[in-house]
Symmetry: C2
DNA sequence: ACTGTAATTGATAATCATTTTCATTTAGTG
DNA sequence: CACTAAATGAAAATGATTATCAATTACAGT
């Protein structure tokens, strides 16, 4: 399924959340960006068109979207997470710890593992994180950086 | 390989880091705990025996240990990461988002995927995170919580 | 064992991210 | 159109992490 603003708004309503203009703006900001955005990134982009929307609202909206698994959260080495919509399909991440570049990848299915774990542990599993960290080609060729020194 | 204080100290030296009493204390605190510890947790435990060691030093030590892949970092839903030694072998995590309980699991090998990704992306990959989040059996049976309400 | 030096530390303050509080506003039901 | 619970904005509080810098210390080399 493709997650458009419309789909997401429907998902909010279905779960008893209101579709406010503020939430729509946050959703649109994420949907229109190729990159993963931090809360502050989203705030900055929204703020141009909607000076009234505060950073707090961005945080609150992201919390709701994350609860409904509508956004995918990226835990880079940096000190705050960033977000994209869970589109066009479930994907995982490869992050350069030098420059922060993020490459999405698909094709690794964790369903079977998830089922095994649920069976063995008794957990009801509802999400997962799979991220590889390393050094991208560009940074490898750049001398003098922390990771090139290894 | 089993990571004892001795092994870790050797790894530090081998990489040009000094084995200070402060660092040893941090290592021992992590090694002696079954649980994953946050920087503040570690600080608290150390502080009893070594009142002189500051939280800042804990952060700095963890940074070094993480760089050398001697500790494994856990990104729970909470607002700060926690750490264990990378022993007895590489493992992954299953986290209850209600009570924070962490279950380690092994037996899922990502080497093949890692190699494929390295080949396709040009990254030199040096680490990864694999975490499942959900609701543990105890919390599922507890009525009135956020996740039981679903 | 002694010395020199670069690495490390501790204290403090600064910064950055996130959460709380609460009075006001508003989406969406009926 | 009115009502009500949910959502918002502003400001302050909290919590985590990082920067700065002078003082200390591990350890390599004598």
């Amino acid at each position: 399924m493709k997650l458009t603003e419309k789909t997401i708004v429907a998902a909010l309503r279905r779960n008893g959340y209101k579709a406010t203009p503020q939430r729509r703006a946050v959703i649109r900001a994420i949907a229109n960006s190729i990159d993963h955005l931090t809360p502050a990134d989203i705030y900055d982009r929204i703020h141009l068109d909607h000076p009234g929307i505060g950073l707090v609202t961005v945080y609150r909206t992201l919390e709701v979207l994350a609860t409904l698994n509508l956004v995918c959260e990226l835990h880079t080495g940096t000190n705050c997470p960033s977000y994209t919509l869970s589109i066009p399909q479930h994907h995982h991440h490869l992050v350069c710890s030098d420059c922060g570049k993020v490459v999405d990848f698909t094709g690794h299915n964790l369903t079977e593992l998830e089922e095994r774990l649920a069976r063995e542990s008794g957990f009801r599993i509802n999400n997962h994180i799979l991220e590889f960290t390393g050094c991208c080609r560009t940074c490898q060729e750049m001398p003098g950086t922390a990771s090139a020194a290894r």
